[in-house]
């Protein structure tokens, strides 16, 4: 799980171009949207691409992702259960 969480953080930092951030800067339970990292609707779509590209998970839409994308920990939990690659 630790490795998965770290990989997710790296993938998020890379795909979302979070300038100057390292995995240590993102707490596992930090909210990703709103306050927290301040991601927005386009970033949510980008997270859907990450799940598809690296883990073979197809989320139908961003609203389905709302629960999943609360924090890196919730994403990791979802990925661990649903990954196909």
């Amino acid at each position: 799980m630790e490795e998965l969480i770290n990989n997710l953080k790296l993938q998020i930092i890379d795909a979302l171009n979070l300038e100057g951030m390292t995995p240590e800067d993102i707490g596992n339970d930090d909210p990703l949207f709103g306050e927290g990292l301040g991601l927005d609707s386009i970033d949510a779509l980008e997270l859907i691409v990450i799940l598809d590209k690296f883990y073979g998970i197809k989320l139908a839409n961003a609203s389905e992702g709302k629960e999943v994308f609360k924090s890196v920990a919730t994403i990791a939990d979802y990925v661990a259960k649903h990954r196909t690659k």
Binding site: I42, E46, V49
Partner: protein, 577 residues
């Protein structure tokens, strides 16, 4: 007052305006279910021409998009006696993506790709047009922006006629963009319906020939307005405030009971239709019948602002409001008058509204001539005085060859700005030192970074009422770097993982939306492409834009980034005296 002398619609269901009207009346639609569209691992429903139609319409030596433009303009010209070869005939092309279907991920494999300006010029010359083309690249608002731009330049006295053509084609490029945004409906779209699932893409061209000389019975552009909702690059302001403001501006002083119809944007997405319904209701137009056409053509992007206006005006000439395609049961909260049935009308005033990525909105009102109410345009004399002054100026130049012994120049208000590094590194360092206000900066492509930085540096200290500030940018190469980057996410061995963050910057006006949202710009924001930097034309357009705003402050100028470290921004803030 500018009149519409001739029109054309070239779509999968008809090659003339009349043929499209009849086809819609027969219930024909342009959309088809396309399994695995051109090798992409997606099933879409989109408006597109058949292979047979494409072969028949293709003009030798031109791309498919250029062929559509040529066919549409030629057919429109056949209905009027406007001379395309006059030095007083303007050509305005409205397109969101241009020839992007010919583009490849790398310059080495481009083949016959022609970028916006080169393509528009080649089409213009083929049509016999001798003046330099102007390309409006303002996302979905382009078709209305193009008409208003032409209207203003005719009113200024510089041109007698304008050929205004809107066109976009269906390509893997655009399918990948909208797939990544998850906004495509798997079936024919259902604007305003409770069960709508998103939009269909479409391809078409549509043309209007505009001119001063016109008799009674000619449709006139009575008024127009453009603004920005200053909310978000891709999501519309959910209150519909930006659309409400442009509607209120163009219907001010008119009896809204004279409006035959409001021809809506109605894309079929949850957000657009909901927002649009609220704007219509808030502007007091709940009782005006809606004309909604996306279910017949799909979203034809650069064409739709023209196509839908042309079809709605033709329908009014036949005394009808066409059925709202795809609509059965109301699925929006703003009260609107929408019907799945054709309705008769004897009224002769049309309101067209549009909204697009980058936060821009547009409205135009059309009517038949009412004696005694025509605007006095003057004859052949520029109507617009230069009554503004330059208050700030910024110049950023890199990799364009030496000027005054330097290759890199950053100058703000005539003072050289000390910078670190070169090229993109220098831009980012400058951004961090001077702005540092927007994490999205780092998600942008090189062109958008340059534009955000340049316009941001000029706007950040300007304190003016948001509705009195606008942006008018000119550019040469569009968003070519973002376009290539996007292509690399789904061509070759890349699989199919188009990135929304990359896709969003393939519309070059989107960065203007980013700026508008950050710096509270709620006035007109327009993005134009020229074949090359042309100071005379830029000055004409700037003058005609300032002239219709009232007291106004605007950032305007040239901004272009053909390669990551080769770029130029030459911008100024002008304000009414």
């Amino acid at each position: 007052m500018t009149g519409i002398l001739a029109t054309n619609i070239t779509s999968p269901i008809g090659l003339t305006t009349a043929a499209n009207f009849e086809a819609v009346r027969r219930g024909e639609v342009s959309q088809k279910n396309l399994a695995g569209f051109r090798g992409l691992p997606v099933n879409i429903c989109a408006g597109c021409f058949t292979e047979e139609q494409r072969a028949a319409l293709r003009v030798p030596g031109f791309s498919w998009l250029e062929s559509l433009e040529i066919r549409s303009v030629q057919e429109a010209l056949s209905h009027c006696d406007v001379d395309p070869a006059s030095p007083r005939t303007l050509f305005v092309l409205s397109t969101t993506l241009g020839n992007v279907d010919e583009l490849s991920a790398s310059p080495e494999t481009d083949g016959d790709f022609r970028n916006y300006g080169e393509s528009a010029r080649k089409v213009a010359r083929h049509l016999g047009i001798v003046t330099e083309p102007v390309i409006v690249c303002n996302a979905c608002v382009s078709g209305v922006t193009a008409q208003l731009l032409a209207d203003r330049l005719i009113a200024s006295g510089r041109y007698d006629h304008a050929i205004v053509c809107g066109a976009d084609s269906l390509s893997p490029f655009i399918v990948a963009v909208f797939t990544s945004f998850q906004s495509l409906s798997p079936t024919v779209c259902r604007p305003f319906d409770i069960e709508r699932l998103g939009l269909n893409l479409g391809e078409a061209a549509s043309t209007v020939i505009l001119g001063k000389s016109s008799g009674a019975g000619t449709w006139r552009i009575l008024d127009g307005s453009l603004d920005n909702d200053s909310y978000h690059v891709s999501a519309p302001d959910p209150t519909g405030d930006g659309v409400r403001r442009v509607i209120e501006k163009v219907v001010a002083g008119r009896d809204v009971s004279d409006l035959a119809t409001v021809c809506v944007h109605g894309t079929g997405t949850m957000f657009n239709d909901e927002m649009e319904s609220k704007a219509i209701a808030a502007a007091g137009l709940s009782g005006v019948p809606v004309s909604s056409y996306k279910a017949y053509f799909g979203h034809t992007m650069g064409a739709c602002g023209l196509l839908e206006t042309v079809l709605a005006l033709y329908a009014l000439d036949q005394g009808v409001i066409l059925p709202a395609g795809g609509y059965e049961e109301i699925g929006v909260s703003g009260r609107i008058d929408i019907s799945p049935a054709e309705r008769p009308t004897g009224k002769r005033t049309l309101l067209k509204i549009v909204s697009g990525f980058g936060g821009c909105n547009g409205a135009a009102v059309y009517g038949k001539e009412i004696p005694g109410q025509a605007r006095n345009d003057g004859e052949g004399q520029p109507r617009y005085d230069r009554d503004w002054q330059v208050v700030r100026r910024l110049r950023i130049r890199s990799g364009k060859g030496e000027m005054d012994g330097k290759d890199l120049v950053v100058e703000l208000d005539g003072q050289e700005v000390a910078v670190e590094g070169e090229g993109q590194e220098m831009l980012t360092a400058l951004y961090k030192a001077r702005l540092g206000d927007n994490p999205r900066y780092f998600k942008m492509d090189p062109f958008s970074r340059l534009t955000y930085l340049g316009v941001g540096l000029l706007l950040k200290d300007i304190k003016v009422e948001p509705t009195k500030v606008g942006i008018l940018l000119f550019n040469g190469t569009g968003s070519i770097l973002a376009d290539r980057k996007h292509l690399a996410t789904f061509t070759g061995d890349a699989g199919f993982y188009p990135s929304p963050a990359v896709c969003i910057n393939t519309l070059p006006n989107v960065v203007v939306g980013e700026i508008a949202a950050r710096y509270r710009v709620k006035g007109e924001t327009t993005f134009l492409i020229l074949p090359e930097r042309n100071e005379a034309m830029m000055a004409e357009i700037t003058a005609s834009t300032m002239a219709v705003q009232g007291p106004f402050t605007m950032v305007t100028g040239w901004v272009d980034c053909p390669e990551p470290d080769v770029f130029e921004a030459d911008l100024q803030v002008i304000t009414t005296k």
